[in-house]
């Protein structure tokens, strides 16, 4: 399966899951879907048959509100049956609106409150370094999440400790909960901030699979430095009426909207 096909499947699953569950954050899933598809399709060294294999790359989705996306990606990669996705956001299910490790093979860490994933990933990377292990630790953050001060504690530490086995991707979709990032709490000059904290940074088009793949294949960008990929993305990418809106951070597609969204995704 190509990463483009994988991305399409993830988007369709996530749309169905959030519509059935009437849950939020579909636009946050769509903005990072291409990143996830390339990571799970080509980059991450993981084995669905051995989800806790010690030599695997670790992946933490720190923007836990986009949990539907990682569940879809894991099901597509065969970590668990796709039928389980139907239980997302349903009574009695494990597949919660955010991310949990409990009962879900392939999830390395549970998130939901923003600003937690990077510190834990940093601890995992630090431990791997001490033990001379060669696997990598990835964390995917949202842009709004970078408001959280705890991230900057980890960003300081990771470069101090020269963790070149730590890879961060930021889904920079420019929209957060109530308004744009620029209006809410400006991050620019964003790449410069990471650089000045001692990280090696590349900016990419977060929907261009070739760009994502070639950049990720160059990881780590430098020895003795943690790597950061700032992925410029479009919130709600893939469904015209969801793109670049605050509304679809919360709204779930129902009825005609759902049909229209699915049609658009299937056409791609």
């Amino acid at each position: 399966m190509t990463t483009e096909q994988l991305a399409k499947n993830i988007r369709c699953h996530a749309l169905r899951m959030t519509s059935r569950g009437q849950s939020s954050h579909i636009a946050s899933v769509f903005s990072m879907t291409d990143l996830l598809a390339v990571l799970y399709g080509e980059i991450l060294n993981v084995d669905p048959q051995l989800p806790s294999w010690d030599g695997r790359d670790r992946f933490i989705l720190s923007k836990g509100h986009a949990g539907a996306g990682i569940y879809a990606a894991l099901a597509e990669r065969g970590f668990f049956p796709k039928e389980r996705l139907e239980t997302h956001y349903q009574d009695g299910s494990n597949l919660c609106g955010h991310v949990t490790t409990k009962g879900i093979p392939g999830v390395d860490f549970s998130t939901g409150s923003l600003g937690h994933g990077l510190s834990v990933a940093t601890g995992m990377a630090y431990g791997a370094k001490l033990d001379g292990k060669t696997h990598r630790v990835f964390a995917l953050l949202s842009d709004g999440e970078c408001d959280e001060g705890s991230n900057w504690e980890a960003i300081l530490f990771a470069s101090h400790a020269k963790l070149d086995n730590l890879m961060v991707l930021v889904d920079y979709n420019k929209i957060q909960s109530l308004a744009s990032v620029a209006e809410t709490l400006a991050l620019e000059p964003f790449a410069q901030k990471w650089k000045s904290f001692g990280w090696s940074v590349h900016e990419i088009d977060g929907h261009d699979h070739h760009d994502i793949l070639t950049t990720c294949r160059r990881l780590p960008f430098e020895t003795n430095k943690p790597s950061c990929i700032i992925a410029h993305t479009v919130k709600g990418k893939g469904v015209s009426f969801m793109e670049n809106t605050v509304l679809w951070h919360y709204r779930s597609a129902q009825g005609e909207e759902y049909k229209k969204a699915l049609e658009e995704l299937e056409r791609t």
Partner: protein, 326 residues
């Protein structure tokens, strides 16, 4: 207590490479030796408790037994959500060590008064909560926590009860330690403030009141077996903690007893009943200020016992034929 802790942890670290100590930039004059002897098992993450707890969780999930170290409320309340979501939810082997329990840093002001930690941390699922009373218990708790999976909290304070372990005494998490025998009442105590309770018991002895003392070094899980035995075999239960009376040791004891229907003949919680303290002073001064010193404890207990006796007499006068069953 902190010296006993670090001495023990150093020994553990020499034997077990999984032991790992992280400090939030505190421990001057305490941690240097550990850092020198076990440099690959030591990390100062800077003044960043949220990151400290996240890193601790990451290291623990990858196989290490991590101790985080700081003072007062910093390694607990400052990063409470990291403790809840990261460490506790994942059952990570993270043990939080806070020096400066209660009024250990009384003169540094309200920010350094650690007086709500027990009740707050006790409510976190999967958290073991410990407040040892002397250096032996500190050493034993440090070691026991390394053997136990999941998250632990070790509350250390500056004071320490002048006790010696009995010959062959064995320490278990969740098993209290009887450090004084007596049947007129049982003190249930957590932390170094047990030193005041020992003195108070001698003052009470002079009044003809014999107090039992249980060092309840583990607040969660609570040793209900010893507690219920104390309710059955002594006249009353009195809890003592350098902590708010709300939800800590006293709260835990009250909850357990009432729910089990094992109700002491009298019950009192020594602890902090006022809000924040804007007054400052040494640990000894602060205890006197809030009625937690030996004299104040003995005085109040004497009143409790005489109130209890008066009630007994009152009841017997009203119901001379009734069985004494309360």
């Amino acid at each position: 207590m902190r010296n006993a802790f670090i001495k023990k942890l150093s020994l553990l670290a020499e034997k077990d490479p999984r032991i790992f100590l992280i400090t939030g930039d505190l421990g001057f004059g305490v941690l240097e030796e550990f850092a020198r002897c076990s440099p690959r098992q030591y990390l100062n993450v800077g003044v960043a408790e949220q990151n400290m707890t996240g890193i601790a969780t990451g290291l623990a999930l990858e196989g290490r037994i991590v101790y985080t170290y700081s003072i007062g409320n910093f390694p607990t309340l400052r990063c409470l959500e990291q403790l809840r979501n990261d460490a506790c939810y994942h059952g990570a082997n993270v043990n939080v060590v806070s020096i400066g329990g209660g009024f250990s840093y009384g003169a540094l002001g309200f920010s350094h008064h650690a007086t709500e930690d027990l009740s707050i941390l006790r409510s976190l699922p999967g958290m073991t909560v410990m407040a040892p009373c002397d250096t032996w218990e500190v050493e034993e708790a440090t070691s026991a926590l390394s053997q136990k999976s999941g998250v632990g909290y070790l509350r250390l304070d500056k004071s320490s009860a002048p006790l010696k372990p009995k010959e062959g005494e064995v320490f278990h998490i969740g098993k209290s330690r009887c450090v004084r025998e007596g049947n007129d009442l049982t003190f249930v105590v957590a932390g170094g403030i047990l030193e005041e309770v020992l003195k108070a018991s001698e003052l009470l002895k002079a009044e003809g009141i014999e107090a039992r003392i249980l060092s309840m070094h583990t607040i969660k899980p609570l040793d209900t077996e010893a507690l219920f035995e104390a309710v059955r075999t002594s006249e009353g239960i009195v809890t003592v903690e350098e902590h708010t009376i709300e939800g800590g040791l006293g709260g835990a004891v009250a909850e357990s007893c009432l729910e089990a229907g094992v109700v002491p003949r009298f019950f009192y919680r020594f602890g902090l009943r006022q809000g924040f303290s804007s007054l400052i002073g040494s640990q000894a001064y602060m205890r006197r200020l809030y009625g937690l010193d030996a004299e104040a404890i003995a005085k109040r207990v004497k009143e409790l016992v005489s109130e209890r006796d008066a009630q007994k007499i009152h009841r017997l006068e009203r119901f001379p034929n009734a069985q004494e069953n309360f």
